[in-house]
Structures are given as C-alpha cells and as structure tokens.
Assembly symmetry: C2
Homo-oligomer: 287 residues x 2
DNA sequence: GCGGGTCCATCAGAGATGCTTATATCAGGT
DNA sequence: ACCTGATATAAGCATCTCTGATGGACCCGC
C-alpha cells in the first residue's frame, strides 16, 4: 500500500489503460504493470479486470480510499513545509463562486486596505476543490459555501486538520422562472414545492432537500457546473427551480425549513502574519 | 513521505528515543536513524531535536497528520480485504461505554435472536477508538455516542468512508451529588449552571458546553477515563457536575438548551450477510 | 578531569527493490 | 489463422535500505 503504487493505480483506473497511465506518469508500461501486480499480490486479490481495464469490486473500494489518502498526504507535506516558509507578501485565496458574496467582498476590501503591500490572488474553483487546495497548500485561504441549518457547519470532504470558521450566513431564496405562479409570494415553504421540478446542482443537491423534507423533488436538468449566471439562465428557461442565496439574485424567500447559505473560511493553522491578518479581516467582526 | 518512514517517525517521537523505537519496530538503531534522516532531507527541515529527542515545530505538525494518515491507510487496506472475506458467523461489535443503552441492548438481543447461529463478540472501548477499530477492520460494527443537538451528527475523528446511522437519541440529565440544592428540581437549564463546578470528561467536555452556552463552567476534576460507574461516584463525592443520558442514572432533566445523548452505528459498506442483518436490527425500526 | 555508559550519526557492504529494455502472451477483429 | 493493440514476464542494472561496525557527542559518578 505504498502511496506510489496507489497513485499509479488511480492513474490506471482513470486512464482505463496501463500504457496510457504509464505515459502520463512518465513510466514505461512495464513498470506500471509491475506496480499493479505488486499491489494485487500485496492485497492478495485482483484490483483491475483487464481488457477492458476496469476496477473490480475490491478495486472500486480502493479507489474510494485512494483519492482522500493521497490528498491528505499532500496536505501533510504542505502543512509541514509551511512551518518553514517565510510570511509571504503574496497570497492566494480560493473561493467557490457563491462564497464571495457582497459581505465578504467588502471584508476582503477592508482587509486589503489594512495591508496595502499585500498582493492577493483570487481564484474561483469548485466548491469541494477549495478544501483540497487549502490542504495541499495551493491556496493560503479558502472560502466555501453550502446550504445548512443556521449555525450548522458545512459537510466538507475531509482533508486533514484545518481551521474552519463560519464567516457569513444569508437567507435563501427560491429561484423561479419569471411569470411562475408562485413568483408573487412573499415566502415559500420547501414542503410546498416537493412536487415541483428541481434543478440538480452541486450547491443544492436534491438528496439534501429530500433529507430535510422528505421524498419528492423531481429532477429536472442535472447541472454539474457551478456558474451562477448559467444556473439563473437555466431557471429562467424553466429547466427547474433551485435555491440561491438572496444576494445572488431575485427570488422568493424560503420561509421553512430554516435554512441558510453559509460561507466558511478554511485555512491551515496560521502563524501570525499577513495571512492571519487577512483571515481575521474576513471573519465576522466580534459582536 | 513514505508511510513506512512516517510510522517510524511516530514511533521515535512516542518513544522519545531512536534506539527504543528501533527495538519496538524490530529494526536496528542505525536503520531508524537513517529513516529519520531520509524524512528530514526529503522535507528539507529538521523534524526532531536530538538529545533529548523531541519534535521540532515542523515535527509536531507532522505528528498531527501522521496518526490519521496511518489510520486511513490501515482502514483502506481493511476495507479492500473485506470485499474478499466470506461472511463470517462470528462478528465483533465495538461499543463505547454509554452507547449500549437499554434500547440498544434490547435491539441487539432481538438481532441475535434472529440469527441464533451468529456468534457476537462485544468489546467496550473508548469513544473515539470505536471509529478507528471499525475503520481498521478490528471490529465489524461500532457504536459510539456523544452529546449533540437533536438529529445533529456526532463529531467523530475521520477514518475514511464509513456509514453512520443515528440509532438512538435520549434525554440528558444533570448528575448532581445527593443533597445538592438543585437536586429536587424537575428540570435545569444549562445556563443556570455556568457557575457550578463541572467534571471534565470525554463525554461531556467543558469546551463543548462553553461553545453552546458561553463562558463559565469551572473545571473540577479532569477525568480521562470512560467508566460510567466511576463518573457517578465522582459526582456523588462532589468533584463536580456532569451530563449523562437519562438511562445511565438519576439526575435532573436538562431543559435547555435542547441537547440529547446520541448513539451512532458505524460500519463499513456491508455486503448482505449476517453483519448487515445485525446492523439493520440495531437501527431504529422504520416508522 | 577522567573513564565508562548511553545515545545518535556515519560508513561499508549485502540483499532487496524497482526501474528499463526486450520479448512473450493474450484477446479480438478480419 | 494472422495481425494488431494491449498486458505480462524475463533479464539486467541502478538504486535503495537494511545490518553490523565504528565514530563522536554528551552525561554521570568518582
């Protein structure tokens, strides 16, 4: 279970081919073949069916573990190396599309004003990639978002010890196409919308809704991206309803159940320095 | 960052000595020295101060990562191997001391009655060891417990993908020494007890209470064990108050905030078989 | 201050690992 | 059957990683 072997196993499974994986990894096909063989004899069972190359049941199980494992390994390395790094004057902030809402944009502006010499690079990435990037040291700070009950933490993929602070919670609205019969309401209950057609999006997955309210929520279009503009266009075109934070556009406030759009700030344990000051600036002012 | 090296690094840090770690691992002292040197040159910084042997800051950081990492590695291996294992007629259930309350004991009895030929081995372990044992395959099913808001999941150390099902939630009581002025009440609010002296126990850590209610909760005795009988004796002797599930003994019901003693069933993804049937028996009957 | 004991670092060599190159083997299509 | 595209195996070589021996730093009692 050498991580090295794990890495090539993942590559082979993804590529669907020993030779392709070998090329991607800079090995010969023979080396890859031997590495997979080594893994298989170590575990005593087949991980891949050949021709075509696809994971066996055991292999599928291993694949589930391998990703997080390799991520944590990179995270550990990054975290250790960070202790030696000098406080930089340039830092990277990774944010999910809906995470940098007006409130946080304003706080970010204030934070930058406090440290004029600090160069900030902002990067928008997928919601669940943020944690991975912070863990792996590819970003110094991260902002992710999601839908939860008030003051509940987000469910995030685990990428090692990391500080998580809720920095913003905002009302949700139901995004409806213009002219929708319910568009004039002043508030909607989720339970009243179980029979509607819903977009499946990463922000607002249908299983989450079903968990909260019960069965229903017919699936409309399944949208895999995270682009808010696109989502709103899809809603307008009648592909289905979805939930959005109030600041992301018009809609009817969600009255029940009590859910919020929550943004969390993610970062490794920070030594005092520019990064820590910016993190403080992004956090809600102490009441 | 070979796990092999990580393992010896942890061993050295724990043993506080290269030679002692070497003996424990079955290596020579020389090998251990070389392994640590390899890790240090790989990362480009010192992980241990020598004479006496103690982790540097970077080393301490690495130590935090190493444990969970190695655990997940073992978990992955165990999980993969499990796909090949035949359904056994003997399985091990790991339970925290307070997890197997009357309700669950009864469900366990019913489950065993359903499968008379199934031999069940029950093991009581520390609350956070349960997850590790299940992940590492040392137990087939696990029951942990903790204090949360109703229907909130427990905060558990992450040990890889694992199914978690809430199987029981029970009212909490404040355990008081006999003759305590508040002992006659019919209900107590946590906020009214911020100034009392509290036991610090793994089930009811004071930081958790402070998170929920605010500062206060003076620390009495710090009890590291998990033995309920001992805890009750400590309370009776006036070392401090604590929260217990109602079924664990007399006390005054906790009226606010709304908290429960929650028990969760942990298990890897189970193929249909005796283990899955027992897991079903332990889960609450569908309403 | 000196000698012995303890502990970690270093060195040299034996054996195991893990790569590459070359070749064998296999499955499927024609 | 034969060719093609693919994985498996074999042999050779470089590297890695142990062991055992030795060296150097520190602590302690005398």
């Amino acid at each position: 279970m050498d991580p090295h072997l794990l890495r090539t196993f993942v590559a082979v499974a993804e590529a669907g081919s020993f030779s392709a994986a070998a090329e991607r990894l800079g090995y010969t096909q023979s080396a890859v073949s031997q590495q997979i063989a080594a893994l298989e004899t170590d575990l005593g069972l087949r991980l891949l069916r050949r021709r075509p190359v696809e994971p066996t049941e055991a292999g599928a199980r291993l694949l589930e573990h391998a990703g997080p494992l390799l991520l944590r390994l990179r995270a550990a390395r990054a975290d250790v190396l960070r202790t030696a790094a000098l406080p930089a004057h340039r830092l990277t902030l990774a944010a999910a599309p809906l995470a940098l809402n007006p409130v946080l944009s304003a706080r970010l502006a204030r934070g930058r004003a406090e440290q004029p010499r600090l160069r900030v690079r902002l990067r928008t990435t997928g919601r669940d990639v943020v944690a991975a990037q912070v863990a792996a040291g590819e970003a110094d700070l991260g902002l992710t978002d999601g839908i939860t009950a008030p003051s509940d933490p987000l469910r995030l993929p685990d990428a090692g010890p990391m500080t998580r602070v809720g920095v913003s919670e905002e009302e949700l609205v139901v995004a409806l196409p213009p002219g929708h019969p319910l568009a004039g309401r002043t508030g909607l209950r989720l339970a009243d919308l179980v029979d509607a057609r819903w977009l499946a999006t990463p922000l607002c997955p249908l299983e989450r809704l079903r968990d909260l309210v019960g069965d229903g929520f017919r699936a409309g279009l399944d949208y895999q991206g995270e682009d808010v503009h696109t989502v709103r266009n899809l809603v307008a075109a009648g592909h289905g309803l979805t939930l959005l934070p109030a600041s992301a556009g018009a809609g009817v406030p969600l009255a029940a159940p009590r859910l919020v759009h929550r943004v969390e700030l993610l970062h490794p344990s920070l030594p005092p320095g520019p990064a820590a000051r910016l993190a403080a600036a992004l956090s809600p002012p102490p009441s």
